[in-house]
């Protein structure tokens, strides 16, 4: 955005501080080709394969009760993981931005950790902890609590991988904004909840929304971590991505791609929402800097 406005004024002589036309055109062509090869072709192919047997073939995939239960499980998982991470993200970034305490930089590193760890490992650690041979396995079996190969495991693994999204968006913003407004509100006699709902929350709302959108997309689409802990019990512990995998491995390609197209739509929706929020957020930022 910045550059669109900048270009005409700050590049007085175009020839010396810009590239010749043929370079421009070939660079644009290269990036268009590269992006279409790597982004558009796979995306379009999902829908093309899904509709290979016509619209009826497409909708037949959703009549399967296993598909229905996979969708339900995914929605439930996201409905638990996203709010929990939202609350944690807010709390953690508030603590990090406003207070000095021992181990703060360690905390920041730990928040980033799920990004750096392979999703498979994130699944494995829960199996090692709660699985039958795991550390807490015997105790859990005695009390008849099932975590691995059941819903709690899926929710936990999803929480782990989606854990950084909200906090990462908020920490830099809250650090930058500082605590003056909150202090002023406190002096004027606002109570804790008033400060939070009138000052803190509105200040970070776009960044928060941005984090939530990304967090949700990941929660619904997570594959590696969930596939380790779920046990692939059809109709019971299969999320949408796992259902796609099973259909695909059964050579039921049309159904696999039909279900996958749901996730692709979700991804597109995520991108659209993200762009809108980004745009609003930039507006707010500009207002803030003024």
């Amino acid at each position: 955005m910045k550059n669109i406005k900048k270009l005409p004024t700050s590049y007085p002589s175009k020839s010396s501080t810009s590239e010749p036309l043929w370079v421009k055109i070939s660079l644009i062509t290269i990036s268009l080709l590269f992006l279409s090869l790597f982004l558009f072709v796979p995306l379009i192919s999902v829908f093309a394969e899904a509709f290979r047997k016509g619209i009826e073939g497409y909708f037949a995939a959703f009549k399967d009760p296993a598909a229905f239960s996979a969708i339900k499980l995914t929605l439930i998982t996201a409905a638990i993981a996203v709010p929990v991470n939202l609350i944690f993200g807010l709390a953690a970034s508030w603590a990090i931005a406003r207070f000095e305490f021992w181990g703060k930089s360690l905390l920041i590193t730990l928040i980033d950790l799920p990004f750096a760890v392979s999703p498979v490992i994130s699944g494995v650690i829960y199996v090692l902890l709660f699985g039958l041979q795991g550390l807490m396995g015997p105790w859990l079996a005695e009390h008849n609590i099932k975590i691995i190969f059941a819903m709690p495991g899926i929710v936990l693994a999803t929480m782990f991988v989606t854990f950084p999204f909200v906090a990462r968006e908020l920490i830099p913003l809250m650090q930058e904004q500082g605590g003056e407004e909150e202090q002023a509100a406190l002096m004027l006699g606002a109570n804790g909840w008033q400060i939070f709902s009138k000052i803190t929350l509105p200040n970070v709302k776009w960044a928060l929304l941005y984090g939530v959108i990304l967090c949700n997309a990941r929660a619904m689409g997570e594959f590696g971590a969930v596939s380790v802990v779920s046990g692939h019990i059809r109709g019971k512990t299969n999320t949408i991505p796992l259902h796609v995998e099973i259909l695909y491995n059964e050579y039921n390609f049309v159904a696999a791609f039909a279900v996958a197209s749901l996730l692709a739509l979700l991804a597109l929706l995520t991108l659209v929402l993200k762009s809108i929020v980004e745009w609003k957020y930039q507006h707010q930022k500009k207002g803030y800097n003024r």
């Binding site: 603590a95 760890v117 791609f257 991804a267």
Partner: protein, 258 residues
């Protein structure tokens, strides 16, 4: 803090705890067995090549998105994040279908004797797809922050455009480029979903480390899985450290420039 320790710390501790049940020799023999080493080689090799491809093309993409005007630019800009938003299982089956023998791209590769699916090449393709947003998204702000006056000064002093690019532009975005490379590389190391479908998972040939962990788990070899997991975790830690270092270098560079 409490939540963090339940979700992150305790499970991670469990991983290390599990490996301590192994003696040092046993641990070493697991993580250096030929099949495991072959998987490291593939994982690192494919991630490295994928990240390199992304660095080259990601630079061009970021450059065109920041500097040039053309129709559809905003859509393209938003689409760059697709690999990030698209669930990995979906991208996995989509890529496999495209590059398989009768797929859209695969049908042209097959007569040329190039086997993309179920080969290391397929793994590389999947990892390139996954890493693409990282390079573009780290480069874009760096390119946007570049001030026009240095370029103008260079032009005034008689530098050709290519010289300006080589001596002024490239060195100032180099840290960002390196960060993007490292991030794409790190992502590639841990990637699972998009690779399992296209790789074919042949032991010693197209089996990545993450998959090896899963197959160990399925054979109830929990300690083996934990050992490989620890190895990979250590490697990602080192990478994370390098990335943070690069980023702080990058910030210092920008501050100095401003």
């Amino acid at each position: 803090m409490f939540y963090l320790s339940i979700i992150v710390l305790i499970p991670l501790a469990a991983l290390f705890f599990k490996t301590t049940s192994l003696s040092w020799e046993d641990f070493w023999s697991i993580v250096s067995s030929p099949r495991v080493v072959a998987s490291y080689k593939l994982t690192f090799g494919a991630s490295f090549i994928g990240a390199t491809i992304n660095t080259i093309f990601g630079f061009i993409v970021a450059w065109t998105l920041v500097r040039y005007q053309f129709p559809g630019k905003r859509i393209l800009d938003a689409m760059v994040d697709l690999p990030f938003a698209l669930p990995t299982a979906v991208s996995g089956i989509a890529l496999t279908t495209i590059y398989s023998r009768n797929g859209w791209i695969g049908q042209f590769l097959e007569p040329a004797g190039i086997k993309a699916v179920f080969s290391p090449l397929g793994v590389t393709i999947a990892l390139t797809f996954i890493g693409l947003p990282f390079v573009v998204r780290t480069l874009q702000p760096a390119l946007e922050d570049l001030e026009a006056d240095v370029e103008e000064a260079a032009a005034c002093l008689g530098a050709t455009r290519w010289q300006t690019f080589q001596k002024i532009i490239f060195p100032s975005v180099f840290p960002a480029l390196l960060t993007g490379f490292a991030m794409a590389f790190a992502r590639g190391l841990g990637e699972y979903g998009s690779v399992v479908f296209i790789s074919g998972n042949m032991p010693m040939k197209t089996e990545i480390s993450s998959l090896l962990i899963i197959s160990k788990l399925e054979q109830y070899d929990y300690t083996g899985a934990a050992a490989i997991g620890v190895m990979m975790l250590i490697m990602s830690f080192i990478l994370l450290l390098i990335i943070n270092l690069l980023q702080s270098m990058n910030k210092r560079f920008i501050k100095k420039g401003a």
